[in-house]
Amino acid sequence: MENQNIINIENLNLSIGKQHILKNINTSIPKNKITVILGPSGCGKTTLLKSLNRLTDLNPDVKITGKITIDDINIFNTNIDVTEIRRKMGLLAQRPYPLPTSIFNNVTFGLRISGRTNKKFLLPRVERYLKLANLWEEVKDRLHEPASRLSIGQQQRLCLARGLAVDPEIILADEPTSALDPISSAAIEERFIELKENYTVIMVTHILRQAKRIADNVIFMYLGEIIEQGTAEQVFENPQQEITKQYLRGSFY
């Protein structure tokens, strides 16, 4: 199981209209590791992350060529059930977007839409996933209150619990701490380090220090291309490309 790749990306190109956003992306994501996609704003990190669970479908103007396989299944295969692919991945966005409903219903949304509506089935799972996201103690007495009443840090952990509740293999995190205070950020980072035992974490960030704290593997992107990739040690201690060196020195963001 060690060093096994869960995701393989071959010759991925993505454009919106005339804009070429991702150029010849070739990479693989190892299982049970934290892979950090690093790079300055606007370099295509988020688009790459979203193409993994085909959220790029939302924009009808997007054109994709190439291949992404997850568990050896080509996700662009047209006769595949896209909801099954998405269910393999929990998404944590830049800001928490709780669904307009209660805390309980947020955590159980993924289960309920697939037909698991039995309270006896749902209740223990709500507790389990809220504990996994380190939120249970704070909300256990008000599970049926609207999620919007939680603080933003709590909301982000709720979104994590919600994503975990569909039992994914992969956690996609798109700058998940960018809207949070340092303490809430640290809570999320700690969670990730613990979660990688059972999950594969892919995190987009432009915060160098955060990448250094938690990354096992690093993909450095610039202007839609992967410039350099490898283990955190390789990329941070011994970068090969001039652009990577400049970025790590803090010459640009």
């Binding site: 939302l58 966005a93 979104c159």
Partner: protein, 300 residues
């Protein structure tokens, strides 16, 4: 800067903030002034008739001093509600398609189309109603139900009206759905929801307050629309019993009669009361929608 120039600068600043405040007050006061004016002008009729009599009597014989507004109120309500029932769902589905499924250029094409619809003078809608909707109803639709009608009836008026209010409702609905962050859609999809489940369980819920305001604006517009409705509604003073009966909505009553027969005692005051009723009913609709929205948002 010299002291004089400084003084002049602060003076200009003060003046500007004040005169803007004056306009604001004027805008805020206008509805109250109109309401008060209508009440004042119509108050004469209350000296001879009770409010319940005016609201619920079906007798409209100004020459005999009988002023029952019931047929007009029922006509107005029927036409308005029917119009919103027709165009509400159409607009909602169109807005969902435009914002969720359609390619971005389609929305770009639709925006001017909607604006054109909004800009067509209402008399043109009325003419269109007479040459197209009225014969269609009398020759094709009513016979299906075994009913004989001239085609000048509640249903025709509601159809014409429903087309007229589409741009107003649709424009707001598009803005409402556009305002929902895409990340919320992404969140629901990433949890394994289908696009339809996302729309049904998340987006419609998030958009609910906006949908209510859109519909209530549609109702307000529909309620006050005069010319187009007057041209096809039939304008017979009788309580309509079904949608193929002719109706006589409140705005048509005012438009048809104001300026004539004003020598008839209390007639002037009765028409002012019709205007006041129009005003109050729209106010109640608005209030009701605001309360619904506030209640909903408290539990979101």
């Amino acid at each position: 800067m010299s002291k004089k120039a400084q003084l002049y600068r602060t003076f200009k600043d003060k003046i500007n903030s004040y005169w803007m405040l004056i306009w604001l007050i004027l805008v805020v006061l206008t509805p109250f002034l109109i309401g008060f004016g209508l009440f004042y002008k119509s108050s004469l009729i209350f000296e001879e008739h009770s409010l319940t009599n005016l609201l619920f009597s079906t007798q409209w014989k100004p020459l005999a001093g009988k002023f029952g507004f019931y047929p007009f109120i029922v006509s107005s309500l029927l036409i308005t509600i029917l119009a919103v029932l027709i165009s509400g769902p159409i607009c909602l589905l169109a807005a969902i398609n435009l914002t969720q499924y359609a390619k971005s250029f389609i929305l770009k094409i639709m925006q001017p189309v909607i604006d054109i619809l909004a800009g067509i003078p209402s008399v043109i809608y009325g003419v269109w109603g007479i040459i197209f909707v009225v014969p269609f109803i009398s020759e094709d639709i009513a016979p299906l139900f075994g009913i004989e009608t001239s085609g000048y009836n509640i249903f025709s008026a509601a159809i014409v009206l429903s087309i007229m209010i589409i741009p107003f409702i649709l424009n707001i609905l598009i803005d409402v759905f556009k305002a929902i962050p895409e990340a919320l859609t992404e969140a629901a999809l990433s949890l394994g929801a289908t696009h339809w489940q996302t729309i049904k369980k998340v987006l419609l819920k998030k958009a609910f307050p906006g949908i209510i305001s859109a519909f209530s604006l549609g109702i307000s517009r529909a309620f006050g629309e005069t010319i187009a409705v007057l041209m096809v509604a039939g304008n017979i003073t009788k309580v309509p019993t079904n949608i193929f009966d002719a109706g006589y909505p409140l705005p048509a009553l005012i438009a048809n009669n104001y300026g004539e027969m004003l020598s008839v005692p209390l007639y002037d005051s009765a028409l002012m009361l019709a205007a006041l009723l129009l005003f109050i009913i729209v106010l109640i609709f608005n209030l009701f929608s605001r309360i619904t929205i506030a209640r909903f948002e408290k539990n979101m």
